[in-house]
Subunit: 562 residues, 2 copies
């Protein structure tokens, strides 16, 4: 179950990340040429769980699932859109942030995973601007508090109405005894470049900042009186649109509903199967390679739409990861397997690489980048098993590099005629899929060492057998058939026996060697502190601020500084 | 009191950070020309608190206070020493890490502050190598487990005896359900450049790694059989000594005992007073400028020894910060004030700047760098008050830049003839004191903006009045006498009313804008996750691993991944 203490409002047993504009309850997506308007209009009665109302455009995970979906659709279905206007459909309020009653009643695991997903959604908005030419303008017509202002911070440009009352604020610390944890603290200092002492004042001022000071302190980019707001928005949209490289003449592809068969112990997608071994606390993900060679042209690729193998698989993988994160907390490890023809996988990679400037090819690679980052940030042990019949090549080899460990079988198995397993790198492994820390998984792997990276680069496209892959440092262990079963079994049993929390902390450190970026700081410095606070009685205790919010009773705090 | 649940073994009421080699109970410091040997020989009965024995060279805060002191003395008292051999005086064991019974019985606040101090000690060892030419070789003669191996990781070079049993290990995750949190995870990947999957295997293998694999995986630099160990150590010491720029002919200065008068509500040092306002939960630190002009030469400076004003004040400040951290958990905010002559402060800075290549001047500036970093990492709100009579100039202006906020009085006060307050920058504010994130406090303050930094640089040495300082962005608010008292009072009352934990998280984010370094990653990514884990039942609950360690009973874990 998703949360220990709450029931899903739809009566179901799992949180579903699939949606579509026709089903949105909280957002209105309007396309007008090169400008889209995404208007927040949260349905108070539309909470994901029972027990709270989403007043004042406050949000829960269900609201954010729609927001994430809307940006995916703008990328794929509306390639001509260059500017998104993120605004509110409600008068005098932009967004009141994450719903406090939802947070107060949520399990620790749900709070953590809710924040992780909302952070990923905001990062995806920034990624769309940085890499897809899809700029976002946030139009704040009233209160933008907490998560509401954090959403604005993901935009390229923030316009605040100057009416004497509209304000931006991060009231988490004074009001709720938690942090602005959806990137707020990090984006204020590292993106908006707000001076640290101004940020200190801002983050401890419940009512926030408005008007000229909001501009002076760089909290917003401009203010405009109500009478001039629409003109300001139009002017800015026009300016940003000019700098976009989105195609003027492209036709989008439909992100058709995922074809999923959901059974108690499995999920079956066309190109991906998830099998749960609940006694061992394992989820085995088997990704299947393409069944046909790639189309010859981008036009044919576009005609395939969402059925085009790389896009289809990326969407399935993304959905499967989110499903495990939110609905399967007891799964300790994810086993990554693949089946298919490595050469065919590389042929698809080649098509996307050659056409990487084409809008759809670009979007598909960016989708993979995001799905792989989601995997990196998934707090389950990741192990890749490379066996005969697998197709860990190019893009799929990234799964091996994303794993905490990888095991590769040497030679064939008794009674199995398939050729020995091979691993193959592609150009993509060196450039296309940077991690949150800004460098590729291979560069992270060989941090500070150019030679093994160069050696690996020289082997691009070559099928590498187990001993070679081990020697090149691409897999952790190459094992004979004799040792394979025992080694893997012992490893997985051992892993399942360790403290779940200690593993989360271990993996959150070892996976991110080297540099940090604003994005990685959000998931490390900010999120780790927030998770700590989410365990502290001052926030979550019976007398803590989250529980006492709105009751008229003041919270009682332990005053000791730790 | 230092810890809620434990009594100090000496029967006292506060932890004292002052010690000296004659009083060491756990280390033996031997100087032999350019090589010092620092031998760990922990006194089992010498625990800082009651209730545990420090077996197998395991350590608590008391052991680490001596280690930190030893490195301070090597810097100042033994400038000719170029190489430190960090080794064990006990057979077949180097160090078993932090004492587990100590950890199991410690308050959360003590655990967090213990780890913070031990991290600072290891960073100081690395700083001595990077900036003072004092290299460390760690000689591991047996078991180096957990914190024991983390101590080794701070060295420049690790030699492991190859006797078939000596091993390095980080068994925290499998054994204790916590992280190797004294920099272990970060240094393994970011300093030793251990491949992430090898690091995963290493950190989940209770018995650790020995012999050739330890070298192959870069966990140690070399292994040597017992018969060749001393020859290997000598050869390496000679090689490292050659590359050191420590002076061959200098005479050290004695770090004489601090002159402190400790009263219930105050600490009085010659150049610093700490006054506690317990009702308001404030500590006011008043730093006093020099009483005499600086000596004319470095020889005279050296003759003053520990009485030389900049060194004396740095030591006092460092001691006062540690006292507040460990002994005064209920203090919410530190108010930073100064008294004296700004021109005199700048004159001392000039002396140190001109002679910055002189070993003692270098050490004094490095001492200030470390003390200021300690302040940055202190989880109390920091506010600087710049009033008539203050001397926030050069090095002392760093305190203003370290503060979360600063208030500066405009003009004079009624009945106070002193001239209006001024603030003055020096060259040091731009270069001498990088923060843990690798950049100066001014660069952090003006992150991403060159112009205000250039403007400030042009004003070096000039006394800046309140309005100018505010305009240049150097202080948060310039206030008239009319507003001063109320504004400051309201701010401090408000600060004391917020959740202590939320403020800790807020400040840990806002203070460190921009880049991250290995050092800052240790205090952010690693420490924040560890603090989270230190709140989780899997580690600290009745059935958790820390409580059950050594009882024969296995811990019982909540298996859910968060």
């Amino acid at each position: 179950m998703a949360a220990d203490e709450r029931r899903l409002a739809n009566g179901g047993g799992r949180i579903d990340f699939e949606t579509s504009p026709a089903r949105y309850r909280h957002w209105k997506l309007l396309i007008d040429g090169i400008v889209a308007t995404l208007a927040m209009d949260v349905d108070e009665k539309g909470g994901l769980f029972e027990g709270y109302e989403l007043k004042l455009n406050s949000y829960d995970l269900g609201v954010d699932i729609e927001l994430a979906d809307a940006f995916e659709r703008l990328r794929f279905e509306h390639p001509q859109v260059r500017v998104v206007l993120l605004r509110s459909a409600k008068p005098r309020v932009f967004c009141a942030g994450a719903n406090i009653r939802m947070l107060a009643g949520a399990s620790h695991a749900h709070k953590v995973n809710f924040c992780k997903f909302t952070n990923e959604t905001r990062n995806a908005i920034e990624d769309a601007s940085a890499h897809s030419g899809l700029r976002t303008i946030c139009v704040i017509n009233g209160t933008a508090a907490g998560g509401g202002y954090e959403l604005a911070l993901a935009a390229d440009h923030i316009i605040l109405v100057d009416d004497g009352s509209a304000a931006v604020s991060l009231p988490e610390v004074p009001l709720l005894a938690v942090l602005p944890g959806t990137g707020g603290l990090t984006r204020v200092t590292d993106k908006r470049l707000v001076r640290r002492d101004h940020a200190d004042v801002f983050c401890t001022t419940e009512e926030g900042v408005k008007g000229k000071r909001a501009v002076d302190w760089r909290l917003v980019d401009e203010v405009a009186p109500n009478t001039k707001l629409e003109a300001a928005v139009s002017a800015r949209a026009e300016a940003l649109a000019k700098k976009s490289d989105r195609p003027g003449d492209a036709t989008g592809i439909a992100l058709t509903p995922l074809d999923r068969r959901i059974a108690p112990d499995s999920r079956a997608y066309p190109h991906l199967t998830v099998a749960f071994s609940r006694d061992e606390r394992l989820a085995t993900l088997t990704l299947r390679g393409p069944e046909a060679p790639p189309p010859a042209t981008v036009a044919e690729m576009a005609a395939l739409g969402a059925a085009f193998w790389p896009l289809a698989l990326a969407r399935e993988l993304d959905d499967a990861i989110l499903d495990i994160r939110l609905n399967e907390p007891d799964i300790a490890a994810i086993v990554l397997k693949s089946e298919g023809d490595s050469a065919a996988v590389l042929a698809y990679d080649d098509l996307l690489e050659v056409n990487r400037e084409h809008w759809l090819a670009r979007e598909i690679r960016l989708k993979w980048k995001r799905a792989l980052k989601r995997l990196d940030l998934t707090s389950r042990s990741l192990v890749a098993l490379i066996e005969p019949g697998s197709c860990f090549a190019g893009t799929l080899a990234e799964l091996v590099l994303a794993a905490d460990r990888s095991y590769m079988l040497v030679g064939q198995r008794d009674g199995d005629n398939r050729p020995p397993a091979s691993l193959a790198l592609g150009e993509v492994n060196f450039s296309a899929f940077p991690m949150a820390n800004g460098i590729s998984r291979l560069t992270s792997r060989f941090l500070g060492h150019a030679a093994p990276l160069d050696t690996a680069y020289a082997r691009i496209g070559q099928p590498l057998d187990a001993e070679t892959a081990e020697e090149l440092g691409l897999v952790t262990f190459a094992l004979d058939d004799i040792d394979w079963d025992d080694e893997i079994r012992i490893f997985l049993e051992e892993r399942a026996s360790f403290s779940a929390d200690a593993l989360t902390g271990l993996e959150a450190n070892l996976r991110f060697a080297g540099p940090e970026t604003m994005e990685s700081k959000i998931f490390a410095r900010l999120t780790a502190w927030q998770n700590w606070i989410f365990q502290r009685p001052n926030a979550i205790g019976e007398e803590g601020a989250l529980r006492r919010y709105g009751t008229g009773q003041k919270p009682a705090f332990d005053t000791k500084r730790v």
